[in-house]
Point group: C2
Chain length 241, copies 2
DNA sequence: TAGTTACTCGCACACTGTACGACAATCTCG
DNA sequence: CGAGATTGTCGTACAGTGTGCGAGTAACTA
């Protein structure tokens, strides 16, 4: 009996768990690969290797690499949370939404390179959109101004976060401190023709603050400014109506 | 070599002996190729063919494809104009700057895909930055708030314009009108779980307006909001100081 | 005239996305 | 039970990519 148990006898049976590959799994693997190696680090072959499958097997579950990226993006939209206006009022809600969106971009640093490559209308993206619209409607905007206000905030947040990411990865890649970096820029500027118009004493970075907190400060500054502007607009419309 | 290794820190090569191929010519060709075929349409071989040269000849003038793109980007920074504050006051100046920046992105639709891939500090980019800083200094901002305000506006403008581009190219690619497109989204949303929270009657596009003017309207709405917010901030600081 | 520099370019390598078609496992139906 | 359809995997191949290497050429300097 025991002697019958060898690789050869075992091989005949339905030995391999023929499972594994599923669309969800592929999307999850792709996300991990993107997060760890960046956009350029994602290839179908590498992804397949990570999933212990043949490269072209992926194409059964996913039509194209671009489609896969679309799926990943929508998956990530699911990480963003949009509070309802009844919880904290529209302004606090929008602020939380903005911070969540920013954090999501900072968590997936390859996002800025692809997020605008086409309008994504996956379910999660649409859900985020819908809930954001509720928020801005609660603020008192009407008609197309709901879209305008929402679009403005989102454009600012994604633009800001993208710029933050690019600064961070550059610092990480070069290994230089922000101060060193700023000094080099200043030196380069010195030789530049445009230098004469730069105010004296500027262009050196304020020292004593680390990058993260300074970026956070900058982000909040801009966000508050936009929201102030929007709030004033709503109030003015209220008065008129 | 370390760290701060980009084309701008590297030394300029000594004068070439006047041949057909030159760095400027390559940059010009690359720009044209990018504008007509998009980022994915730019390859060293195609570019070389357009310039009637061997593919690897380009590598004498340019270290790497990425460096070439950096050069193109800085070239494009040269298209942006930033008025001085003495011409029209800071707010009007910033508005003109913002419109110029937006127009530049709309003119080079591949820009959003690469603009944030690393902080560009080419001479033209720095010149734009310097002049923008003058503008925001004239507005009354002090210390790091100058940077914050400038960064906020630029993030908004680039984010907005990028989103506009993505909508436009999608419309062009699918050949659908905006109304068709919006209707399809609405139908998809219908079946979505998040639908119950969407206010009734929303999500259908206001008809009778074409995409370009609506996007322009949206852009201006957001820009004015930000500038309102920033202006209020300056006034408050004036009062306090 | 000899040597150095400035530049061009063919070849080759490793790698990419993905079309195709040959396989195998599982399910469906008579 | 057995046969056909469905579902899924994967090796091979093709056209394309960025770019390192080294051989080749033309022009300038000594």
């Amino acid at each position: 009996m025991a002697s019958m148990d060898s690789i050869w006898t075992r091989e005949k049976k339905s030995e391999p768990a023929r499972e594994a590959l599923s669309r969800e799994q592929i999307v999850r693997g792709a996300t991990a690969l993107l997060d760890s190696e960046g956009l350029a680090g994602l290839s179908m072959r590498k992804l397949a290797a990570r999933l212990d499958s043949g490269a072209t097997s992926l194409y059964w579950h996913v039509q194209t690499k671009d489609d896969l990226i679309d799926l990943v993006i929508d998956e990530i939209y699911g990480e963003i949370d949009v509070p309802g206006p009844e919880l904290a009022g529209w302004r606090r809600g929008v602020t939380l939404f903005a911070h969540s969106l920013r954090a999501t971009v900072l968590r997936h640093v390859w996002l800025p390179e692809v997020i605008y490559s086409r309008p994504r209308l996956g379910p999660n993206a649409m859900s985020v959109g819908s809930r954001a619209i509720v928020l801005f409607t609660a603020a008192g905007f009407i008609d197309r101004e709901v879209d305008y206000a929402m679009g403005s905030v989102m454009s600012y947040v994604i633009g800001s976060a993208s710029s933050e990411v690019s600064v961070r990865t550059t610092i990480r890649e070069t290994g230089k401190s922000m101060e060193d970096w700023a000094r080099e820029i200043a030196e380069l500027t010195q030789n530049s023709a445009a230098n004469d118009t730069v105010p004296e004493g500027r262009m050196q970075w304020p020292s004593g603050t680390d990058v993260d907190t300074m970026q956070a400060e900058a982000f909040e500054f801009g966000l508050d400014s936009i929201l102030d502007g929007l709030q004033a607009r709503v109030k003015a419309a209220d008065q008129a109506g």
